[in-house]
Symmetry: C2
Subunit: 422 residues, 2 copies
């Protein structure tokens, strides 16, 4: 059989949805092209560890080519996708070439959203990519350096003020870890400042942190954060952010380090599909994850708006993305065989979030855990699911080391020789 007559499957995005779909098609008679703008699959649940200098960037990333080297029906392409041309059946890449498809999976994920305040982006970076993580690491480490060199007490206090906007899992992780860095990691290292005097605030507009968890676990997460030294402000919308601080209602808070964990929006690529999107820019898909009116196009992962039979949305978490990816592989297989694709059913494995050293919350079914036990559970799950044996071993070693020494392995400032701007 001539290979060039096989159906062409194009997968956009090498995250959990795209990669799992690609792998699930390993034994199918198709030609797959996986397109990603970066050369690696990223284990996003641990990205905050790179931002807070606990892990090196390569510890949580694996080259897509390497993961897929043995799967001969896949070609990996490093490129940015500029648009989908559904009428012509192709996607347009940033190097000007068009890539034709018989079946397309759009799994391009999400990006930060500043809800109409795009000018905040420069002052309050978000955390989605490895480059974001290294930028945040740089900002945080340099803030302590600037404080050490600053003689004016008010300016020094602003350098020692850290604000995390958004009380979801990422915000909670960042706040808990920053408090640990200030109180433990940097102990004894400075001569003019006491890093433990740094202020770490977690600011949430809604009534509670970790809103996707039951009330009781939110409350326990809050108490655990406070025990780690984080000030938790709920019901407190941020009304302005600039280089010198942020505003909560009438109060201006001087701060040189504001991090954004408050909102995500779907990849703008969804707009080129020409179908109605939901408020977050996601594609409301049909029961088989197909795009309405586009029998050859599927959407999975954070870009897909999927509703469960009970009316609840499928959450934007890694296990959901993997399940959707595998389902799309099955749907494409069905279509190629001339069958109707089955409906997607989400299997909820529960919800877990880490807060800091020995602190986490876990919710699955009727089980609600918090504290030490939840933390061990979280650790186990995250190491188990890391891609690649090497990464698992290195991450486990780094964490054991970090745990006993309170040290963080990756406290290295890159860029401009470490002395550039903030």
């Amino acid at each position: 059989m001539d290979v060039s007559s096989l159906p062409r499957v194009v997968v956009v995005g090498g995250g959990f949805a795209g990669l799992w779909a690609t792998r699930a098609l390993a034994r199918d008679r198709v030609r797959i092209t996986l397109v990603d703008r970066s050369n690696h699959h990223l284990f996003q649940p641990l990205l905050y560890q790179v931002a807070t200098a606990g892990l090196s960037a390569p510890d949580i990333a694996a080259p897509l080519r390497h993961i897929l080297r043995g799967q001969r029906n896949v070609e990996v392409r490093l490129a940015d996708v500029e648009a989908v041309d559904a009428a012509a059946g192709c996607i347009r890449l940033d190097d000007g070439t068009d890539l034709a498809y018989d079946y397309l999976l759009l799994a391009a994920g999400s990006t930060h959203a500043y809800f109409g305040n795009d000018q905040w982006a420069a002052h309050a970076p978000g955390l989605k990519t490895l480059d974001d993580a290294l930028g945040i690491r740089r900002r945080v480490l340099l803030a302590f350096e600037r404080a050490e060199a600053e003689s004016d007490p008010a300016k020094r206090a602003a350098w020692l003020d850290f604000a995390i906007i958004g009380g979801g899992p990422t915000g909670v992780e960042l706040a808990g870890t920053l408090a640990e860095i200030a109180r433990h990691t940097l102990r004894d290292e400075f001569r003019n400042i006491d890093p433990a005097s740094a202020r770490v605030r977690l600011i949430e507009a809604g009534p509670r942190v970790l809103a996707s968890f039951p009330d009781a676990l939110s409350e326990r997460a809050r108490r655990q954060l406070e025990r780690l030294g984080v000030e938790v402000l709920t019901g407190t919308p941020v009304t302005a952010i600039d280089a010198s601080g942020y505003r909560l209602g009438d109060r201006f808070m001087p701060s040189r380090t504001v991090l954004w964990a408050a909102g995500v929006a779907a990849s703008p690529l969804a707009r080129s599909l020409g179908v109605p999107l939901d408020r977050a820019g996601r594609v409301p898909v049909e029961s088989d994850l197909g795009v309405p009116g586009q029998p050859r196009i599927f959407v999975a992962g954070d870009l897909a708006a999927v509703t469960r039979p009970d009316g609840q949305p499928v959450p934007g978490v890694a296990p959901a993305a993997k399940q959707m990816g595998r389902h799309v592989a099955q749907a494409i297989r069905a279509r190629i065989g001339g069958h109707a694709a089955p409906a997607f059913g989400y299997r909820d494995w529960g919800n877990l979030a880490t807060i800091g050293r020995m602190a986490a919350v876990v919710h699955f079914g009727r089980i609600k855990l918090s504290g030490v036990l939840a933390w061990w559970f979280w650790l186990l799950v995250h190491i188990l699911f890391l891609i690649g044996f090497r990464n698992r071993v290195v991450v486990m070693f780094n964490w054991t080391w970090a745990y006993w020494s309170y040290q963080r392995a990756a406290r290295i400032i890159f860029g401009k020789g470490g002395s550039g701007g903030t």
Copy 2:
């Protein structure tokens, strides 16, 4: 005793010379300020491993503050030094402040030198800092990506052409490792190119590679390189470099990846001392490593031009820098006590260079080794001297893993989401 009356020692540079001098003064009644433009001490002998994706940047770097946290007579300052004002007895920092000293150690190291061809810098990056290493890693990995996406055979060949200019230890290490990446690491990962067809050339203007070694070892190094798949060109000066390739005499060689390992020059900071410098911009120091006519200023490491009693120069290697650093600590102690400083004596521990997998050369005293035995020796020495227990363990693990799997742990492209320019 009032601390503020203690002699002020300012050390510029946290490399081997500066850091070893600082540590040697741990029990002295002095106030030390260590100034560096980056926040970490870098284990430079393994920098090529970061450039070639074998190690993560944090594996070979440790925060200066952390190394020195227990030494209470030291303050670490993250800043660029702009000038030395010997008349006023102070140095000028890039944040506009002046730092006064009673004794100054200038150990600012060296930078790339393009011998009057500064326009080559953009096309042929050198390797001195972690940022340099990550930039080279990015270039090399992207070159294979571009080749995979390129359909024009001539353009594709230029993407698969790697030239390393300079046959010293850094050039040899880079060439040997690039050949291994092309032949082994990337095997099976591409669909349109054969990475093993990549051309790796090591180009040296002088008559042989590793000129600081005896003739016989140079010759063995050359043969080992050729066995790894490197083309070695000696007696071949490069006469031009641009974005599309380089020129050797009349021949233009199309190449998209040219790396510079041909020359270093001393830090330009030396010029502000107002004393005559040698051709490489280094400071010819007196026998005690003091600057002629400047009894309060010492120079150590790559910035110092030191001649041994037999007329041979002290080489620019890590053991020499450490010895000089320790000597300057002793000299400062002597001056404070009103004594004359002793003369510096260099203890030559030998010379070693790695070439690639199981290939290295070692020379000390009458012993000349090459091949597997030299490689094991090189490995042992480099792991032993890595700063910090954690780094040693992680590096050992990464190398063992890399050795058995032919994989390289850090093949992650950063910057512009991995899809930007080259």
